[in-house]
C-alpha cells in the first residue's frame, strides 16, 4: 500500500548543523495491518511518519501510495491526499483552545464543503463511539488528558481516512488509557484501516493486534520483530 524507496531526509543541508535524519530507507507497509515503527528518540521515526503522511518531503527518494508516486506532487494535490487519506493522531492532542470539542472535531472536514448538519451528526457519532459525546459542547481546556486524546482521535477520523498515523500516541497516557487506546486501534483494524504507529512503549509494540514492528536506529531500519 505504501512503498518507500531510498528515502533520505537531511535537515539544514550544506550548513555546519547538517543532520541526516533518514538514510536510504526502503520499506513496504501493507494495507489493513498495524505497523509499529519502534526506536529511540532521534532515530527518525517521526520524520519518516511525516514523509509518509505527506506533511514533509524527502531530500531524496520516492514514496508511493497505492502505486502512485506522491513525493513529486504539487502542494495542492498533497493537501487533498493528506485530507482524504490520512488521519493524524499526535503525541499531544493539539486541540484548538477556545472552541468546543465538537468544533475541534469538525474542523478538518470544513474544506471539503460537507453540509454542516450531516457533519455534525457524523462528529457526534464519532464522539459517542469513544464515550465522550457528553463533552461535545465543552471547551477543550476542560477535558482530562484521556478525553483530549479521544477527541483528537475522533478528529483524525472525521474525513474517514483509510490510513491512521499515530505519533507516540501513548506518551502522555497512563497505563489504563494506553490499553484503551490500543482497543481503539483494534477497532480501526477491524474496520479495514491501515495503522502506522511510532512508539517506544512496550505496551504498544508488544500488543497482540500489532502485525509488524520495524526497528529504527540512527535513521536506518535495523531489523524487524
Amino acid at each position: 500500500m505504501i512503498e518507500l524507496v531510498n528515502v533520505r531526509k537531511v535537515f539544514n543541508a550544506g550548513n555546519p548543523s547538517e543532520f541526516s535524519a533518514l538514510n536510504s530507507v526502503n520499506l513496504n507497509i501493507a494495507q489493513n495491518k498495524v505497523t509499529v515503527l519502534k526506536g529511540p528518540s532521534g532515530s527518525g521515526k517521526t520524520t519518516l511518519l511525516s514523509i509518509v503522511g505527506c506533511m514533509s518531503r524527502p531530500s531524496a527518494g520516492r514514496v508511493k501510495l497505492n502505486g502512485r508516486e506522491i513525493t513529486s506532487l504539487p502542494e495542492r494535490f498533497l493537501t487533498d491526499i493528506r485530507r482524504k487519506t490520512f488521519g493524524f493522531i499526535f503525541q499531544q492532542p493539539n486541540l484548538i483552545k477556545g472552541i468546543s470539542v465538537l468544533e475541534n472535531v469538525m474542523l478538518p472536514a470544513y474544506p471539503l464543503g460537507e453540509k454542516r448538519s450531516s457533519l455534525k451528526v457524523k462528529a457526534m457519532q464519532g464522539l459517542a463511539e469513544l464515550n465522550i459525546a457528553s463533552k461535545a459542547a465543552s471547551k477543550v481546556e476542560w477535558l482530562s488528558g484521556g478525553e483530549a486524546q479521544r477527541a483528537s482521535i475522533v478528529r483524525a477520523l472525521i474525513n474517514n481516512p483509510s490510513i491512521i498515523i499515530a505519533d507516540e500516541p501513548t506518551a502522555h497516557l497512563d497505563t489504563k488509557l494506553s490499553y484503551r487506546f490500543m482497543e481503539i486501534i483494534e477497532k480501526f483494524k477491524s474496520e479495514g484501516k491501515t495503522v502506522i504507529i511510532t512508539s517506544h512503549d512496550p505496551l504498544v509494540y508488544d500488543a497482540a493486534i500489532v502485525d509488524r514492528v520495524v526497528n529504527f536506529r540512527d535513521g536506518q531500519i535495523e531489523g524487524e520483530s
Partner: protein, 337 residues
C-alpha cells in the same frame, strides 16, 4: 526627466522583470537539462521544489509585464507637455529612436507573457508537471525579449532630451504624409476598412462560438483571434479614432487614452489585448489535450479561454459600435486633402 515618478516606475518595473526573468531562466535551464520525474535523486527533488518558487515569481513578474504596457503608454502620455511639438503619447514616443521600438517590444512581450501565464496555469492543473519543459522553453524564448525591452526602454528614458522638437500625432498618423507605417494605415479608406472590421469580427465571434459549443476549430479560432487583433489595431487608426475624435482627419491611436475622450482607449486596448492572449492561448494549449493528467481539466480551461476571448472581442465591438453610433461624425464619402 528621469526623476519623473512614472519614468522611475517604468524603469523599476523593467529592471525587476528582467532580473527575475534571468534568475528564473537560469533555473529553467537546469530544469530543461536535468528534469526527470521518474527519478528520486536529490537534484530532481530540489528542482521540484524550485519550480514552485520560479512559477510563483514569474506569475507576478509577467503580471507586472502585462501592466507595464499600459504604464508605458500612460507615461508617454503624461510626459508630452515636456516636449515641444508633442500633443500626446505619439509625440513623446518619437523624441528619440527608442520609443517606438520599445512599444513594439512591449506589445510582443505582453502577448508572450500572457501565453506563458496561460501555459503555467494549465501546467499547475496537472499532478505530474505535464507542461514543465514546454513552459521553460517558452521562458527561454521570452527572456531575451524582456531583457532587450529593458535595454531599449532604458535607452529611451535616459536618452530623452528636453530641447528636442518632436512631431505631433497629427503629422505622424496623417493621410497626407507619404511615408511611415502610421500614415500608411491612416490613409486606408475608412468605409472599406469598417466593412473588413465588422465582417472579420463576425467571422471571429462565429468561429469562437462554434468552438465553444462544438469543441471544433480551436486552431482556426486561435489564428482568427490573432488576425482580428491586427485588424482591430489597424481599424483603430483607420476609422475608429475618427469617430471618437469626431474629426475626419485625426487618426491618432494614442489620443483616445486621454481624459478628453474619457480614457476610452485604455478600455479598448485592455479588451483587445485580453482577447488576443486568451484567443491564441487556445491554440497554444490544443496540442496537450491528450495528456492523461490534464484530461478533462484542460478542455474546461480551453473553453473558459474561448469564452473570455469571445466576450472581450464582443465587448470591444460593442464599445466601438457605440462610439460610432453616438459620434457626430458622418463618413459618407472619402475625405481627400
Amino acid at each position: 526627466m528621469v526623476l519623473h515618478p512614472t519614468v522611475i516606475a517604468n524603469l523599476l518595473a523593467s529592471y525587476i522583470s528582467s532580473f527575475m526573468v534571468l534568475y528564473a531562466t537560469y533555473y529553467g535551464a537546469q530544469i530543461l537539462r536535468h528534469w526527470n520525474i521518474e527519478s528520486g535523486d536529490e537534484l530532481q527533488l530540489i528542482l521540484e521544489r524550485k519550480t514552485y518558487l520560479i512559477s510563483t515569481v514569474l506569475s507576478y513578474v509577467f503580471g507586472l509585464q502585462l501592466l507595464s504596457l499600459f504604464l508605458y503608454i500612460f507615461t508617454a502620455d503624461v510626459l508630452c507637455p515636456l516636449f515641444v511639438g508633442a500633443m500626446c503619447a505619439a509625440g513623446t514616443l518619437n523624441v528619440n529612436g527608442f520609443g517606438y521600438p520599445t512599444l513594439v517590444l512591449k506589445v510582443v512581450n505582453f502577448i508572450l507573457a500572457g501565453l506563458w501565464l496561460v501555459l503555467n496555469h494549465a501546467d499547475n492543473q496537472g499532478y505530474d508537471y505535464p507542461l514543465i519543459k514546454k513552459k521553460y522553453l517558452l521562458l527561454a524564448f521570452v527572456a531575451p525579449f524582456i531583457v532587450l525591452e529593458t535595454i531599449l526602454q532604458s535607452a529611451y528614458f535616459l536618452g530623452m532630451e528636453a530641447n528636442v522638437i518632436t512631431s505631433c500625432c497629427g503629422s505622424m498618423f496623417s493621410e497626407e504624409k507619404v511615408s511611415g507605417l502610421g500614415s500608411e494605415i491612416a490613409s486606408l479608406p475608412a468605409q472599406p476598412m469598417m466593412w473588413i472590421f465588422y465582417v472579420s469580427m463576425l467571422c471571429t465571434l462565429a468561429c469562437g462560438f462554434f468552438f465553444y459549443f462544438k469543441n471544433k476549430g480551436g486552431y482556426v479560432y486561435a489564428a482568427l483571434s490573432m488576425l482580428m487583433f491586427l485588424v482591430s489595431l489597424v481599424s483603430i487608426v483607420s476609422f475608429i479614432s475618427l469617430y471618437i475624435y469626431e474629426l475626419p482627419t485625426h487618426h491618432c491611436p494614442f489620443c483616445i487614452i486621454m481624459e478628453d475622450y474619457h480614457y476610452i482607449g485604455y478600455l479598448l486596448y485592455v479588451l483587445l489585448f485580453g482577447a488576443v492572449v486568451s484567443g491564441i492561448g487556445i491554440g497554444a494549449l490544443m496540442p496537450f489535450r491528450g495528456i492523461p493528467s490534464l484530461e478533462g481539466i484542460l478542455s474546461g480551461f480551453i473553453r473558459k479561454l474561448a469564452l473570455t476571448s469571445i466576450i472581450f472581442y464582443a465587448a470591444f465591438a460593442m464599445f466601438v459600435t457605440y462610439e460610432i453610433l453616438t459620434s457626430s461624425l458622418v463618413i459618407s464619402y472619402e475625405v481627400v486633402y
